[in-house]
């Protein structure tokens, strides 16, 4: 397993929104899911995850709710709000353009 890559600034928000678009989840699960879905390439530390979650909540893109988790404990579940869906669309398209542009430059020989 190669060394995990640090996330590009600003992309964590997009990943969280995308993951939460699938289903409501608590913080730990979000981290796990990002790791698994990226084939262990992307590693999200708590140092980045929780502030990001709180910021998104503050922005009104996600909302939190305390639920019983799969191992029978109380956990804070986040889910997308309406504004969150919209933000996800915006962020995703922004990312598409950005990555396409970067690829264009990187692949030029």
């Amino acid at each position: 397993m190669s060394k995990p890559i640090d996330l590009v600034q600003g992309t964590l928000d997009l990943l969280i929104l995308k993951i939460l678009d699938l289903e409501p989840m608590h913080g730990w699960a979000i981290a796990q899911r990002i790791r698994l879905m990226s084939n262990e390439v992307l590693q999200v530390g708590q140092s980045a995850l929780y502030p990001a979650l709180h910021k998104l909540e503050q922005q009104g893109w996600i909302e939190a709710e305390w639920k019983i988790s799969e191992n029978n404990r109380r956990a804070k579940y986040y889910s997308l709000t309406l504004a969150g869906h919209q933000a996800l669309a915006n962020e995703a398209s922004r990312w598409e353009r950005l990555s396409a542009a970067i690829s264009l430059i990187v692949r030029t020989t």
């Binding site: 913080g27 708590q46 140092s47 990001a52 709180h54 503050q58 191992n71």
Partner: protein
């Protein structure tokens, strides 16, 4: 919209339900941690290793939490709350520091708020008259007497009125004591004023009920009308509207009440209770000069233009009347006229002094904060190294100092509130316009601004010094900070030196005022009877039949007879003037055989009428000749007595006795020369005085003055009853002892002296605290060094001398600077000083001595403590 509400809700939740939010955050992070550990275990790690890995992964939990809080974007409010909480905790942790700092600032802020309210009320608050800054007071001075705001006669007024172009409608007024009587009511003597018809409209004031004077109601043959004050209306008429149209007796003449003025109207004097219409009868001669003018500038006219016109009118007056030499007609704003000449400079000096006091307080607290900053350098460095932003640290330190200032502001406000009430109610300074002094929003805003400013001011230096803290050296340095502390030490020394300098300036100022006041107290009014043994009262025979000299004299003789027979009275006399400042009359005079150039006249002198025992009652010394006797009656040969100053000035190198002089009436022979007495105030140069026998110069309203063997105060009631039983229409007023009269006459200088001394005393107190703090700190810093010295055999006296030398060094630097400042500033006191120069040597010599002693006193305790440092302890301490 809905999102906005969610946001607001979340933010409010974060701010107001901190605990819940924090708990949830804890739980959330704990959950994460647990899951991480579980996962580690499932990968085959043992529980301890899994836990360790998870924790390492998680990093500093506290930092995570802080970042989450940051993300919630409520940090500035939350930080403020934290800073406040932390600030309160810090203040409570060092109560001595907090109490001293708050007290120092509270004194400074309280004194400033008080002075500000007084100065604002007296010098700045708009007068309660429409467009008050366009109202002018016009007085008249001419060469024969040095008045500052002199008065004019009706003839002068009519001439002014005829040539007037700059004012709306010139009005004239005269203050006079009036006897108020009327059917079925107790006669009383009050302050009244004669005013021309335009007086009230010039001021733009309206009555509560009824009306004021209308145009033309000052023309000859107009009936007497009266406007009452609200106070008199409530007192004598129970506040009934039926008073309108009723007749009251004013000086025995019926006058119809036409209106009532509100209590806020206090012109021409504060205590004026009745206004009657001044009738402008065509004058047959110049004088009497009893009147002053008041007028409103026409739109577009300025005070300068008005003054220019009055100057040219003055020239005309001088041409028409050769008696008028160097006539001036000063045009003053109404406020300046009400304030007179002395109040404004004194107020400004006191305001300046109190500002210096605040400066000392601020410096002092800044000093305390710096001292603490030094102690807290390690704490700050530690916090910086743990990741606190420098901005955050500065903000926290500033929050602490502003919090301190806010507490001091509230305490200062209480001080101000109490002292303003004391000043307002007691009016110990006998200040004009005292009724506009109050603690109001302007003052509150002033205090608020001042507290915040001072808070930031004294917080700033330590805040930056603290946040600049260099991480590594400070933490390593530990307690042994003799070299690194130098920067702060120098800053503190500078602050203390400036404190000493400012204190010295205040002490010099206070010293000058005290010396001046002592001089004033020493002024001999010219009489030798102890002041508390003299009681005087103003008696007015209310009945008009006493206008006639024969019955009037009989009345006063009866007053004298009864007064003499009153138990406790040693001597009694009737007079129209009393020292120190109750001059009855002043006029020019002629000397027999003296040839004056055309238009020349002798100076105006105090002209006193007195009964035979007057001089003995007051113990005014006889220089030559004789006192008046009971034989100097109406019909006997007219006689006069002159003061020593009079004789020297007008009969130099001659014997004044036997010379004849004249003042309006017949030639009078000078039969006696008596000592000089002051009738125009203690600060005036002694005026020449001319005395005439009471029986040969009769007038209506006179003082009775009695001398008793002991305290004369208790005689007042008995005498009042006795005198009123002669004729119930008689009114008595101003029943006071000479002691009270003297007291009253110096109330303003005493007030100024008292305040400035108080400010200086507080300044010294604050400086002592500052010096003590600095020296104690200096000693603490050198514990090690001193310990070594003592271990090497230094005697305690040497150590003591070393510390005292530090104090002396600070003191002499501060004193040198302070003397320089005082040298320039005492000039401002010039008008407030009596018979003492602004460069008074004694004051300038004594003040530094006082300061030096105070500094050494503040140094002694830490110096003594330094000698007690055990060499062993010094070596042990790190």
């Amino acid at each position: 919209m809905a999102r906005l509400f969610v946001k607001i809700h979340l933010r409010l939740r974060s701010v107001f339900q901190t605990r819940k939010v924090e708990e949830e955050l804890d739980e959330e992070l704990q959950y994460h941690l647990d899951r991480q550990i579980e996962e580690g275990e499932s990968r085959g790690l043992d529980p301890e290793a899994a836990r360790f890995a998870a924790l390492r992964d998680m990093g500093a939990i506290a930092q995570r939490k802080d970042e989450c809080r940051d993300a919630r974007a409520v940090n500035w409010i939350e930080n403020l709350r934290q800073d406040l909480r932390y600030g309160i905790r810090t203040l409570r942790k060092s109560p001595a520091f907090s109490v001293v700092a708050v007290l120092a600032l509270a004194l400074g802020i309280g004194a400033n708020a008080t002075m500000f309210s007084v100065v604002y009320g007296i010098l700045l608050r708009p007068l309660p008259y429409a467009d008050a800054d366009r109202i002018a007071s016009i007085s008249m001075n001419y060469a024969s007497r040095d008045n500052v705001f002199g008065t004019m006669c009706i003839r002068d007024f009519l001439m002014w009125k005829d040539s007037n172009r700059v004012f709306e409608e010139p009005s004239l007024f005269r203050s006079q004591r009036m006897d108020i009587g009327g059917t079925g009511s107790v006669p009383e003597q009050v302050q009244g004023a004669f005013v021309t018809a335009g007086f009230f409209s010039t001021l733009g004031v309206s009555p509560i009920i009824g009306r004021t004077f209308m145009t033309g109601e000052d023309k000859p043959a107009t009936a007497s009308l009266a406007v009452l004050s609200e106070g008199m209306w409530r007192r004598r008429f129970g506040g009934s509207a039926r008073v309108l149209g009723q007749a009251i007796l004013v000086n025995g003449v019926p006058a119809t009440v036409i209106g009532v003025m509100p209590a806020s109207f206090q012109l021409p004097r504060r205590e004026t209770e009745v206004w009657t219409n001044l009738i402008l009868n065509p004058p047959t001669r110049y004088g009497p000069w009893f009147y002053r003018g008041i007028a409103r500038l026409k739109p577009g006219m300025t005070f300068e233009a008005a003054q220019a016109e009055m100057d040219s009118i003055g020239l005309q007056m001088a041409q028409q009347n050769p008696y008028y030499k160097r006539v001036t007609l000063p045009v003053l704003s109404l406020r300046d006229a009400l304030l007179g000449t002395a109040v404004k400079p004194a107020m400004l000096v006191l305001m300046g002094a109190v500002a210096l006091l605040l400066l000392i307080a601020v410096v002092n607290v800044a000093n305390l904060m710096l001292a603490r900053a030094t102690v807290r350098e390690r704490e700050m460095a530690l916090r910086l190294s743990l990741g606190a932003g420098r901005g955050r640290l500065v903000r926290q330190l500033l929050t602490e100092s502003v919090l301190l200032a806010a507490i001091a502001g509230i305490a200062g406000l209480s001080i101000a509130w109490i002292s303003i009430e004391l000043i307002r109610v007691g009016n110990p300074g006998n200040l004009p316009l005292i009724d506009s002094v109050r603690l109001d929003w302007t003052a509150l805003a002033f205090v608020g601004a001042m507290s915040t400013m001072t808070g930031i001011l004294f917080g700033l230096a330590p805040a930056f010094a603290g946040a600049r803290a260099d991480l590594h050296s400070k933490i390593k340095e530990g307690g042994r900070s003799s070299s690194a502390g130098k920067g702060l030490g120098r800053a503190r020394a500078t602050l203390v030196v400036s404190e000493i300098a400012i204190s010295l300036m205040l002490v010099v100022g206070a010293g000058l005022l005290v010396r001046s006041f002592v001089n004033l107290q020493r002024v001999n009014g010219g009489f030798a009877t102890p002041p508390h043994q003299l009681l005087s009262m103003l008696i007015s025979p209310g009945n008009r039949k006493y206008d006639n000299a024969a019955s009037g004299l009989a009345f006063h003789d009866e007053v004298l007879r009864r007064a003499r027979n009153t138990p406790g009275v040693e001597l009694a006399a009737i007079t129209d003037s009393l020292p120190p400042d109750r001059e009855g009359n002043a006029d020019s005079f002629q000397i027999e055989g003296q040839v004056l150039a055309s238009g020349e006249m002798n100076p105006v002198v105090s002209a006193v009428t007195a009964s035979s025992d007057y001089f003995s009652t007051l113990r005014i010394p006889l220089v030559r000749g004789r006192f008046f006797t009971d034989h100097d009656r109406l019909g006997a040969a007219p006689v006069a007595i002159v003061s020593e100053g009079f004789a020297q000035r007008f009969f130099p190198a001659q014997e004044a006795l036997g010379k004849r002089i004249k003042q309006g009436g017949p030639w009078m022979e000078i039969v006696g020369i008596v000592g000089n007495v002051k009738y125009r105030g203690l600060t005036f140069n002694t005026d020449p005085v001319l005395y005439m026998p009471f029986h040969q110069e009769y007038g209506g309203r006179r003082f009775l003055v009695v001398r008793s063997a002991g305290d004369a105060q208790p005689l007042g009631e008995t005498l009042r009853r006795e005198i009123q039983s002669i004729d119930p229409s008689t009114t008595l007023a101003q029943i006071i002892t000479m002691e009270q009269a003297l007291d009253l006459s110096v109330s303003r200088p005493r007030f100024n002296t008292l305040l400035l001394s108080l400010f200086a005393a507080i300044a010294i107190l604050l400086a002592v605290v500052g010096i003590y703090g600095l020296i104690a700190y200096w000693v603490a810093q050198r514990r090690h060094e001193i310990g070594v010295r003592m271990a090497l055999g230094a005697a305690p006296t040497e150590v003591m001398r070393m510390v005292l030398r530090q104090g002396a060094l600070l003191a002499s630097t501060g004193i040198a600077i302070g003397l320089g400042g005082a040298f320039f500033l005492t000039g401002l006191l010039k008008t407030m000083l009596f018979e003492i120069g602004v460069m008074d040597v004694l004051t300038f010599a004594a003040a530094p001595l006082v300061i030096m002693l105070v500094v050494l006193f503040a140094t002694i305790i830490p110096a003594f403590r330094a000698t007690r440092i055990s060499p062993m302890v010094a070596l042990r301490c790190d």
